[in-house]
Amino acid sequence: MKLTELFDKGEFVITSEVGPVKGCLRSGSGDEPPQCAREAEMVRECVHAINVTDNQSAVMRLGSLAASVKLRGKGFDPIYQVTCRDRNRIALQSDLLSACSLEIDNVLCLTGDYTSLGDHKSAKSVFDIDSVQLLKIAKGLNEGHDMVGNTLTKSTDLALGAVVNPNFEPLDLQLFKMEKKIEAGAQFFQTQAVYDPAVFERMVKKTEGFGVPIQYGIVVIKSPQMGKFMNKNISGIMVPDRIIEAMGSVSKEDRKKKAVEITTELVREIAPMAQGVHFMPLGWSDIVPTVVEAIKGTVV
């Protein structure tokens, strides 16, 4: 199902992210299901769709399209993430045609983390087009033509998602780009992780007239070290000290419980300002059902 149909019905849309494995998925008898499939199972009953990352952090893995198709085969609704880092305009358009042909309904168009941040630092970065252009191209494919105007034998039918970072300074510059994405064809947005309700509110106020649904994005903080690491190494995310301290105030065994508590509190406070929530649990997908259960009545 396309996410846009859910938003149109007024649903509060819940999604969660999985990262494809570093390895291939051809099954042999007795193989354990891969981590991404297991994580998807953990959230099966509590999310509408599952984001599948595209060589996240520029670390080479199983392709997001293959993983999305595998999840589709197991009855999930994948959101196929596509970045501009590794493929030129020919490959990207071809992949979008492939995705639709393989029964994918949702695509999230991103720029992509830079190559040097990943595990193949000497790779040539592509960035032939940017995320705004990718959205415009994807919209064109939905309308039956490629980016140079050639007619397709059959149009794609993809719901087009995009991302926005409410933490960005100056915010207006980020919102110029968000407006361009909407104009280009973006139908829903997922945000970068936000831990400060005031930051999210500032963006919501400025985007009220934009007319597109926005899902509040949250990366689950699993340890005080992770919070500090993100502040130091992941640009565009700011984890407040109070969260780092709260994670540090409990024993290692109790961290998951604390993460549920913190995530629930943030979602309760911030998600009512949005039309959905997008979890990025980074391996802790098992906490997502507990958080979703806990927010029932407030946003769901």
Partner: protein, 225 residues
């Protein structure tokens, strides 16, 4: 100018292994500004090679080694020494090395050309003798008129044309925290010019065929092919 950095001396020695009689040719253009291949560095290189037991037959530094006529003018008086040389060490950019190869071929000589520098891009000198910056990629379709005179194709790591990625922090690029985010520079510049609204305009995908290599510039016809 074309920026250059010296190759490790051991790498140069590997490249000239087996050749005893060497010529050293620098460039008093860009390589002089980069302090990698001007007359001084050419003398230093000749001395270093001699210390390693090489016979440096001659050393010369054309004004601009990428200009075929200037290189020929500089080499004409050394033609006999060039004929004796078993290899030529170039302290210049990749263009200087290839022009020198062409000039030796024009002399009907087949001499190995060994380059002693790495070329690192079209550089603009900010502080003479200290600092140069890459600001232009010669993309063949300049968009500086749209971006406040700051090039996102070069100065944004991802060459984004429609605004920043979400990764900048404190005004710095996610790829290098020492480097300013090009799009924040553009935003500030356009704000100062009172032209922020121009940043709302959608920029089409770039025509990269205009930088498809190798380009030939027909100077008379003012045309690139």
């Amino acid at each position: 100018m074309i920026g250059t950095t010296p190759k490790p001396f051991e790498e140069i020695m590997d490249a000239v292994a087996g050749y005893e009689k060497l010529a050293v040719i620098g460039c008093d253009g860009c390589a002089k500004v980069c302090m990698t291949g001007g007359s001084d560095q050419v003398e230093e290189m000749a001395e270093k090679l001699r210390k390693q037991g090489k016979n440096v037959v001659f050393a010369v530094t054309p004004d601009r080694t990428c200009y075929v006529t200037k290189t020929r003018t500089a080499l004409d008086p050394h033609i006999d020494e060039l004929k004796q040389s078993e290899a030529v060490v170039i302290l210049g950019c990749g263009g200087a090395a290839q022009i020198t190869r062409k000039v030796t071929e024009d002399y009907d000589l087949t001499i190995p050309i060994k380059i002693g520098l790495d070329s690192v891009g079209h550089m603009d000198t900010l502080v003479m003798g200290e600092l140069a910056l890459e600001q232009c990629q010669e993309c063949g379709e300049c968009i500086l008129n749209e971006t406040g005179g700051i090039c996102p194709v070069t100065k944004c790591a991802k060459s984004l044309l429609n605004g920043p990625c979400g990764g900048a922090q404190d005004g710095k690029c996610e790829v290098d925290s020492e480097r300013d985010c090009a799009w924040i520079l553009i935003y500030n510049r356009m704000a100062a010019l009172g032209e922020l609204n121009k940043l709302r305009r959608f920029m089409e995908a770039k025509d990269y065929s205009k930088m498809a290599k190798p380009r030939t510039l027909n100077i008379k016809e003012r045309r690139v092919a």
